[in-house]
Symmetry: D2
Subunit: 312 residues, 4 copies
């Protein structure tokens, strides 16, 4: 349960408001504004503000005085052109702000995207809730044997149960230690009046990396596209990929033409190296070509054949 | 005249629109949304979009589920605290987008602020208008004799007239050369069908730095405050300062509490160096102190005395 | 013990090398290059590369063809002028690279400085060492009663012992759980061949925030000065302040003139708000002034009086 | 002639220096350090400092205590892997600093790369030299008829001569106006003591965009690669491409393994869109496919066929 009834009530209150504006609005995104989209066992993503729409991309590319949009087909064409040629600046003219609740180890990967604005809940200032991430059994994967930073087969039932027990016990114990060191309830009153509580900024260090934190995260559409390209990729860790997937859904509501271009020129696109391109040209001419002569490593050759839909 | 009737009509059309939104809105800013605020002889600043308000700063600082605002007095106190302690991240949660028309030499200073998003009108792609900046006579100042990057006295009437004539003639001639090299009218039809026109990306190099360009410029509130602190400063060149002044007015409409904190902790604030602080402490104790013993240079001493409202 | 003998040997090997270069060099910094400066119980800071010196700041400010430096007194004056007027770009022309070993909760604060370049040791890819931070008894402080994000009195011996025991036991247990889930030794061989090990990217979530990580961290001199201003400040958490203090020592070796300007216009400087400045002016004129009439809050008034060296 | 004898003498003096350092050095780059590589008619690029080498990329990727390099073949493989998978952070660990002299209209394109550090020669503070760019006849191209931001055929001899005359005359006249308004020689002495000179910050606006400026420009290897990918591309304007080409030569000296990966995965690489990839797969299976059915626009289809080395 990612939200308390009080939090849900605050969200409902916001959703009930409506104001007139002269700005561009996107009804499909307004529809889900402020709502928490559940991710993992206690996490969520909520869109809490946005600025601009597909038209704002077009408008900026044309530096126009009005909306800048013409026929939908022309706007689509322009947006595809911009995405294809990596003309990134018009996409920077749209902005979106999320409220995200996520495990700390996911937050540590996420924060590496430096071009966003972030306000994180402060554990120096406040007390963290007793909420930690436990993977679903289907996610308890063994270390991959051929990819040092990937997952292999899912653990057997017994091994999985053992891991889950261990994670749960250690997390519960970590929180008990945290609470005991703090020695205060949520209103700051000491639980044991006989002893002093440890400073919050110190006590937090007892919590493990699967505890949940939360932040406001704001970025422009260009950097969102970059973030999603990297984090919705199959090489990304599952626990951040599910956040990226939820955010792609919000992007489709917000800027459908840009999302279409994203599918075409990012998510579904393929990059061929100079040597990989030479291989493709030879294949198309019907010339024989082997991995050994191609200049490609075995791994690159295999990846190229997969990309081309051919047997390796 | 910064706008053509067609441009004004496009703006009027946008201003006539109204849409419902669940987002925070700022009526005082909506009032002037899209309107061109004239700056210099042909330039303008227009707010064309915004995201967030003072409440969004408060909301981010508290990482809250709802609006996050409490009583106005508490919000004001929090915003002042954040500005005073340079807690910049909550101010990054608000965003504003301007359309600006400005002389190229001003654009060259402005672009040095790297944290903004920019889409400039492309003179590789389009033809620039015949509009150039001529200073008002009151702005035709002589080189300062004691500040190598400043202005001194205003030129006498005769000297001023001579400068203005020279600027006007050279600008007109530069545009004539540009048009002749392009050899095309606004629709791309050759003026002289007997000869080829020079590529736009080359012809533009004949224009001088007082010609007007325009761009979309978007930034967050934290970086706007930094920009305005530097560019509304008396040391900034007059021609960029007038843009900063116009933008400060838009900031007062948009985020009045932040603007108040900006006056208090940026525009009206004073920085004392370690040695300058030692001087103030001595003065307050009634101890004698001289420039020679203070460790301050003559210029710093003079500036300190001015700051303190004392004779140097 | 922050370093193993093998690591120390690698460092010694690097320190034994010497190459000729046409670039500017700084002998005082070369003296400690690659050496690990111990911080906290297992952490360190090492300078592993640098580019430029005080002369490079001067050279950039003058856009010169040669070294750009003149007399030391002129260079000092120019550097002080640049720091005083926040002309930051010449300081951006120097760069320094550190290798830092630090607890994860410190890394989480540090990473918020987005203008640096970072490569962190990957716990998706590699196995973390069994090293965690335990505060020295003098650092085990109670929660501050008047500052929600600060420390109060040091805990009594008994309370401190209890906290330390709890931190140590929970950390040790967290690592045991981590190792058990991984089920592999440092060379990747399973400890228990009967069962599969959990993927590294998952197992790491059992570690607590006091475990050590390490990274390469590179920044320019302007952003280093900003980082140190904020993190060497008394309001910063002790555990990051000790890193900042160690880095200030390296800055003094590297760019002594810039470090001097840093003391004068950052570390030892004071910021007066508009209202605070009005109070100082009145005091200097001998006029009476009270907190109530000053427009300052009680906290600001107290801070101002402290700054001025007067009783509140 | 980009350099005066005094400037060349300053450079020679620097090149004669040699200091011992413990840092990584790159002899092939040291060889040309400080030397001006001529670009266009009066411009140049000079490497004036650098930090790191190919080994520093490897070292950062491994977060190692020593040099981090192993066998050359392993280092090459790792660097190719990093470039291929867009793991950009290790490349950010190397830094290079250039001194560049370039026409203002080129500087205006260049500055759009916001991730670099820049110090430009100040025309508020100093007087610009009488040096302006005149294209070589082979570069005087007509506007492209099918690409709004490109060049078409080279102008005929007569048309070219006319353009060159016009550019030269207008540039000379612009400088005469500038000098007359300034009314001072290089040492600040008035030419005509009877009248006041206009402030430098105003007079400069009379200069046209082909006048030369200069700056120090510093960036990390990752952002250099991005800059060169975009600016050495055939779609880039010729006048910036020649700078990029000169800089690629310096990159080959500095980091040969990274430069090789750059050729393979950037310069010589091809991006296939989702629809483009589907076309390639069909072609490889020997299935018929036409532009109309492919989902590609005509322009995209043509570009794809060119990439694949097939007739359109």
């Amino acid at each position: 349960m990612p939200l308390t009834p009080e939090q849900q009530a605050e969200i409902d209150r916001l959703r009930a408001e409506s104001h007139p504006t002269r700005r561009a609005t996107v009804p499909a995104l307004e529809e889900i504004l402020y709502e928490a989209i559940p991710v993992l066992d206690h996490g969520f993503v909520r869109v809490i503000d946005y600025m601009g729409d597909d038209g704002a991309v077009v408008q900026a590319a044309r530096v126009s005085y009005g909306r800048g949009t013409k026929k939908v087909s022309e706007d689509r064409g322009l947006i595809q052109y911009l995405m294809r040629h990596r003309h990134s600046t018009p996409f920077e003219m749209c902005e979106i702000k999320y409220h995200v609740k996520l495990p700390i180890f996911v937050a540590r990967q996420w924060i590496r995207h430096r071009t966003a604005n972030v306000n994180e809940y402060s554990a120096r200032y406040s007390i963290l809730d007793n909420e930690f991430y436990l993977p679903a059994p289907a996610q308890l994967a063994a270390q991959s044997s051929n990819n040092r930073q990937g997952r292999g087969d899912v653990l057997s039932g017994e091994d999985a149960a053992r891991v889950l027990d261990l994670l749960r016990e250690d997390s519960e114990r970590a929180y008990r230690g945290y609470a005991e060191m703090l020695n205060e309830d949520e209103t700051g009153v000491p639980r044991d009046p006989e002893r002093a509580g440890l400073a919050r900024e110190l006590a937090r260090m007892n919590l493990s990396l699967n505890f949940y934190t939360q932040w406001y995260w704001k970025t422009d559409l260009h950097n969102l596209v970059n973030f999603l390209s990297l984090r919705a990729d199959p090489h990304a860790q599952y626990e951040i990929r599910v956040y990226a997937d939820a955010m792609i859904d919000t992007m489709r509501r917000w800027v459908p033409l840009t999302a279409e271009a994203f599918d075409q020129y990012r998510l579904g696109a393929a990059q061929l190296s100079a040597s990989g391109l030479a291989v493709v040209r030879k294949l198309l001419k019907g010339e024989p070509v082997s991995q050994a002569e191609s200049g490609l490593s075995k791994r690159e050759w295999t990846e190229l054949m997969e990309t081309l839909g051919r047997p390796a």
